[in-house]
Symmetry: C2
Subunit: 392 residues, 2 copies
């Protein structure tokens, strides 16, 4: 402390106590390794398609650089409406939509509106950890309910366990399907059962559906609250342009929620970011209006990538891995691993393949490793060649 | 409530209780008026200069569309450092800098780190209301200390009143100089006096310096904590690209704070927005590195605009207005006005000039009107012609 400083000003202890990202621990420990194949973050290895970038550039040329409405520019509101109707068959009006600066921003603002100190939120894990952190940052208590790993590597939800975790302090159930890191896809029946419970108990469902279009097989989207929830139901659906349109760096997403919650989210958007970047929203308009074929091609590519990784890793005796049903992660267990963080650091050094430790996604993730296969097939083949000797 | 919904899920009452923008009340009430001159928002009427837009477009062409570090891309961190050194003579290292998605976002994340329920924050007003709302949203109690209007229209700070408003619950003093809406510019001595108090008491200063370069006369920047604060001092300086580089719609800003607070802000950035849009940050690099001449021209233009408005309004018997020293607002009192919101709605309809009601900036703003003169001189002349008959 400097001489002039008499008394240290306080930073909130719950904020200081929030854990940092364990994935970043691996990336920092591996910063000096040359020629790494980086499969640790949840993003593809190709930039945003050119037609979307051109949409944003044209907006810049037109001078779309002014303040915009909190809810989003009208053409984006319309494009989001049209997209949900076209892709999901869901008719959702503008009083139920707010655009956000990413899925993360959507989660944080929603949690600001719904969680106060003393409240609890039940989180279905293993899950991307940031939602839990948003709950903690607002003074709430996240309660884990873990999916159960089955013999074949798939995950299942014990519904009774979920309901038993909720009590009078519970404001929110957080669900992510298709799931990061598990690839778990909730069935329409499961979503309906949770919705019936939420209606009965007055508990919000925060449904993170950012991987909703990235699903393999004949379906073109995962079961979704877009179609299952009524306008007044206690359901907040999070979406993002990051995954389906390869726009991670753009920070753009949207919320669908009941009108009364959208009014609160709109107000809190003003006090958080005011609105997503104006010309970025125009990129979003282009993505939604002209991007259907791009998504189709992307999902085909990811399905081939999933096959390649599954064929390479599943036969290894130490590995347990189910064929992914959605999202773009292989979340495999590795016999004998009790410290996935150290294992990932070791594998990065020895195999020069960067992956995310299972512990980053909660205690139920320990013993596992997450590999993001949203990469080109040659790169993935090379990664498999490097990895396999070290997984035997 | 729909038939299936048994119990309404709760939205946090403090969030529901937050007031919406009174400026938006005027804009909504005036939506049907044709040919309005809109001087109600705090932004210029010209788009971002082309060279900055080209910087972002080039980044889009290079495929700068991926996730980035929470603190900001290294070239932007360096450009911010270089700018503060060049413009303020302040040597501030990267451990004291975090980029944010606007000044508003910077304030919200700072408040998340510093304010818990039961804490108070002293706010020097009249002031842009969103900082108060961020404090309330985090469960804190904003306490107003109002600048005193002098006979000549200028504002002064009663230092004892400020100190008396602080007690053991006080975590934060919020100050905005040059001030929106007042145009008040704190002297270096005043800033130092507040700093000494903050050091003694362990209270943070949140110094919103987004208008720091928009100051009239020989100085090229307002007195600033960039030069007055030591690295470990309890000072958070908010800056933004919105005002000095005409980048309101871009949502880009930065924080300067002690390293220990920057570490917390960096972590909370992950849980709020992850990082500002990647190619937007490249636009920021261009703005900072190549924008010095632009700022110089902008301030000259705003000074001429300030003169024009001052010459037109100050002589009117009902008006009291000091010549603005900084920022880009005329915040004039109008004899006989007790309801500035209704007055602004009336003036919008009768004079077709859109302005912001003083009450939007706190009770001490009642009886006043804020006119943003960041507009072209012909437009301002026309606005004066329309307004003057109604202010007599």
């Amino acid at each position: 402390m400097s001489e002039v400083l008499k008394r240290e000003a306080r930073i909130c202890q719950p904020i200081l106590d929030l854990p940092g990202s364990r994935i970043r621990v691996v990336t920092r420990a591996s910063a000096d390794i040359p020629d790494m194949i980086k499969l640790w973050f949840g993003e593809g290895d190709e930039p945003t398609p050119e037609f979307i970038r051109e949409g944003a550039k044209a907006a810049l040329d037109r001078g779309e650089t002014f303040y915009a409405a909190n809810r989003g520019i009208p053409p984006l509101m319309k494009a989001i409406h049209d997209y949900m109707l076209r892709a999901y068959g869901a008719e959702i009006g503008p009083d139920r939509i707010v655009t956000t600066a990413s899925g993360m921003n959507a989660i944080m603002i929603t949690v600001q509106c719904l969680i106060e100190p003393g409240d609890s939120a039940v989180v279905i894990g293993p899950i991307w950890p940031n939602g839990r952190s948003a709950i903690r940052a607002m003074g709430g208590e996240p309660r884990d309910v873990f999916l159960q790993p089955q013999e074949d590597g798939r995950w299942t939800l014990d519904m009774q366990q979920l309901f038993d975790a909720c009590d009078d302090t519970t404001r929110l159930i957080m669900i992510n399907s298709p799931g990061n890191p598990t690839g778990w896809v909730a069935s329409a029946e499961e979503l309906k059962t949770i919705l019936d419970f939420a209606r009965e108990r007055g508990i919000w469902i925060l449904s993170d559906e950012v991987y909703g279009r990235i699903i393999y097989g004949p379906a073109t989207h995962a079961p979704s609250y877009y179609t299952l929830a009524q306008p007044e139901d206690p359901v907040v659906i999070i979406n993002s342009f990051s995954k389906s349109w390869s726009m991670t760096g753009w920070r753009l997403g949207w919320i669908v929620a009941p009108p009364r919650l959208c009014a609160a989210v709109e107000k809190m958007t003003e006090f958080n970011i005011s609105h997503p970047t104006t010309f970025v929203q125009w990129g979003g308009v282009t993505a939604l209006n002209d991007g259907d074929a791009y998504i189709e091609g992307l999902v085909e590519r990811y399905e081939r990538a999933a096959d390649l990784v599954y064929q390479a890793l599943a036969p290894l005796p130490r590995v347990r891995l189910a064929k992914p049903e959605g999202a773009f992660y292989a979340f495999f267990s590795l016999d004998g691993v009790t410290d996935s963080l150290q294992t990932c650091i070791d594998l990065a050094r020895k195999a020069r393949v960067g992956m995310a430790p299972g512990i980053a996604f909660g205690p139920a993730g320990e013993g596992r490793i997450r590999l993001c296969y949203a990469a080109s097939l040659p790169k993935l083949s090379e990664a498999m060649e490097r990895l396999i000797p070290h997984l035997k």
